[in-house]
Symmetry: C2
Subunit: 174 residues, 2 copies
């Protein structure tokens, strides 16, 4: 089961329909799975407008992305950056009404991107295998919801045990 009930009960989102968050997170997880199948680092992202914003009345998926370090030799295309890049140029007004979904706690670069563009809400799959720049998000008033999903952790553990040097490279560790 993708979203075990016990996990969801532990950290319920507070302001948006849970079903919408789960649906969007599942899209991000599909990206992570696809990345894994490609031999890449299994982290996925998705950006969706929040319900009842000026941009969209019903919460629209704007785009997805995944870590491309291995697939494209890219040091900066993390799940979130690839997602923002795939979507292309947007105005601040649109970002403001969006939630970023990411299967893993966003690193300092991705957290900085979220802050830069004024995205006010982040839903993450887990922050057990890695904690990124959540302090940066919190200091800028970004809402963080951790779904603490077993599947996200398992994908990361599978990859990092098989290729620890690639993961270290991705997070700037020696």
């Amino acid at each position: 089961m993708l979203f075990p009930e016990t996990t969801l009960t532990a950290t319920p989102p507070t302001k948006e329909p849970l079903t919408k968050d789960l649906k969007n997170m599942e899209v991000a997880i599909q990206q992570a799975r696809l990345g894994f199948e490609e031999g890449g680092i299994p982290i996925g992202g998705a950006l969706a407008s929040r319900p009842k914003t000026s941009f969209s009345a019903d919460g629209k998926l704007l785009g997805v992305g995944r870590n491309k370090r291995i697939q494209e030799g890219s040091p900066t295309k993390h799940g979130e950056i690839d997602c923002l890049e795939n979507i292309g140029r947007l105005s601040a007004l649109v970002y403001k009404g969006c939630t970023m979904y990411t299967t893993l706690s966003p690193c300092t670069m991705c957290s900085g991107a979220i802050v830069l563009f004024g995205i006010r809400r982040v839903v993450l799959g887990e922050n057990t295998t890695f904690v990124g720049g959540e302090d940066i998000l919190i200091s800028r008033g970004v809402e963080i919801i951790n779904l603490d999903l077993t599947e996200c952790k398992e994908l990361m553990i599978k990859f990092t045990e098989a290729a620890p040097e690639v993961w270290n490279e991705d997070i700037g560790e020696e």
Copy 2:
């Protein structure tokens, strides 16, 4: 004159030969100028290894980049991100021995990238027209040297006066 003596006297770098910093900053400024000629946002970046590191004995230029929002419709290719992307995958050990040169105070995304990859030193052209995530850099112990260069400011003023809406989009302002 590219580097007025008075400016350099005001904020001298502390640990590296000044001539090397000026040479590398000039490369970043060339990128900013090129971006401006292309009709783009005139911000450039360059990454160079520091003298006497394990990676290079004499300070080697690893690569350059420039803001590509207009040229490629890219929301994430700021000068520094484009530079890192153009260089490609590097190990943490190499980044650790590098200085990032950027014509403008790095935004939160680019500051987060500098922190993520463990780049320990940033030389910037100016922070008068915009202040990015310098607080993030400082909180992580990254050394910042501001050359406070008139040419960098003039390029930015010329662009932002001509296309304020594009600049606002680049920094997530409405």
